[in-house]
Symmetry: C2
Subunit: 322 residues, 2 copies
């Protein structure tokens, strides 16, 4: 099993250092946060604040470097990668993929990079919030671009599988479009709902029940995390926001004119059923040879159909799709 | 304890017939639904499909009549009330209050009417979905208008308290404005989110995690229930929708121009904290004499501050407010 070097020891990085160690991988971490480094060391992990040294060691040992830092500092850390481990095997766990890919091409162009995003997290942050089971059962997107090195892709996928996730192969663009819909839009609608609700004062808060609590829950997430992912995904998010605004505007017009909301409410009900039906499907097994000439297309087609990779042999990705 | 006559034996009416019976009140029900009437009778309750007879009996015994029918048929049932029990003690459990008040004034003007709304429910419907514990811990709005008969108000409040709810005194207008914010807007945003999410196809559904599941949960509610409450609250809902649309539009403009979403996200976080802080408050006890000349103002002021009534003696409402 390949060694793992985790840069950033917050919730995700800290959980990954624990999880990789737990499955028997040699793993070390580094972070700018003295508090996180001290806490990780105190818990018995190989952690320091010397990011340069950690990266050099990764370069020497051909370890898999995992960038687990917030999106706004990814560029800065990639400069360090370019300097101390220029040709390393590299992935990240950031919630937006196209901007990270662009940064890698600027700052660490020789890295064997595969964009990654484990769809796991909590509202907590920092080393203390982490746990090795964080990735169990989660979707872990591992990006496949036209120039992706499939051996590197398989290494990233193996790490994700080792820590309990299943792997979803997608392009960075397909990932960003999907998360704009199912993660970033929910966060922004929750923020507006929580604002409009609170504007109603004590009466509104006193009457708030489960529909309000459900609809505003993610508005409690730390604002800097929500800003990083939504602002960082601006290009993919704008058209999705416009789609939502168009539907909301049409609804408002219909309520004001005919008084009818059937179109909006029925479409929403169908959407809710689509998710329930999707989750109730019985998937069928698939195999993608990683050495076939069209392997990248095969992986991306699987991801585009909502499929997942659940195991990897030496050169075959084994998965399922409904 | 006053007898109770429940018209409509679906989820809410059926639960109330059970709950009122469970606390030892004489209670009977009637419904147009042969299935619900048969199911209620089979469960040992006094239930029939003869709404006119149930109402006449309520008039004769001065029972409290509870309208538990969907909003679209409230007017029709109120005509029956005006015909068979014109001066009865009357309340309802509908999710919108001003339109019901207007209907009562048209169709049963002599009823001693107090608008009501227990903030309880599930996505289920029909007699079989009911249970006597449905109202435990719920806010039950009991409306106080300038001409509300406070003896009738106290009767409605006592029923709500008997079945485990606390009572929130509000005008119909204040109720409708608040539920537009914390119930109807959440349902409509969830519908649009579920639609935009499903438009993302299998990739989006495969990546959907808790933010999407939370944000779309109420989109699974039966469309006719959501339509009844939102379309029925058109007057109060339109300005709230416009407030939300204004905030969403400003957010969209900010993302497109400066790329910044801090204002939206910070306001949402403050809104989420406002709810958490509201719920963490320690309330102080209050008493409102129901025979005082300003009793209606006192009750409404308590409700406007987010307070609640938790007990009623012969002529004093005892409650708490933070």
């Amino acid at each position: 099993m390949r060694d793992v070097c985790v840069i950033g020891l917050g919730l995700i990085g800290g959980s990954l250092l624990r999880a990789a160690s737990a499955v028997g991988r040699a793993a070390w971490g580094a972070t700018d946060s003295e508090a996180d480094a001290a806490a990780a060391s105190a818990d018995g992990f190989d952690a320091s604040t010397d990011v340069a040294a950690a990266l050099r060691r990764a370069g020497e040992q051909d370890a898999l470097v995992v960038l687990a830092v917030p999106l706004p500092v990814v560029g800065e850390v990639l400069r360090e990668v370019g300097k101390h481990a220029p040709g390393c095997l590299l992935t990240d766990v950031t919630s937006v993929k196209a901007p990270v890919l662009a940064s890698v091409r600027s700052f660490a162009p020789d890295a064997r990079f595969v964009g990654g995003h484990p769809m796991a997290g909590t509202a907590e942050s920092g080393w203390r919030a982490g746990n090795p089971a964080l990735f169990g059962g989660a979707a872990w997107v591992a990006c496949v671009e036209d120039d992706t090195d499939l051996a590197a892709w398989a290494e990233v996928a193996r790490l994700a599988l080792d820590v309990g996730s299943h792997v979803v192969p997608l392009t960075a663009a397909a990932h960003d479009e999907a998360v704009a819909r199912i993660s970033h839009l929910p966060h922004l609608l929750a923020a507006v709902l929580a604002t409009v609700g609170a504007e109603g004062g004590p009466v509104a808060l006193a009457l708030a029940a489960s529909s309000y609590a459900d609809g505003t829950r993610v508005a409690g997430t730390r604002p800097e995390l929500v800003r990083a992912m939504t602002e960082g995904n601006r290009e993919a998010l704008l058209p999705v926001l416009d789609e939502a605004l168009g539907r909301l505007g049409a609804m408002r017009g219909s309520l004001a004119s005919t008084g009818g909301l059937a179109a909006t409410i029925n479409a929403g009900h169908e959407g809710a059923q689509a998710l329930a039906e999707w989750r109730a499907q019985t998937p069928a097994g698939v195999r993608v040879s990683l050495t076939a000439p069209d392997a990248r297309d095969g992986l991306r087609a699987l991801g585009a159909r909502g499929g997942r990779i659940t195991a990897i042999t030496e050169d075959v990705a084994i998965g399922e799709v409904a």
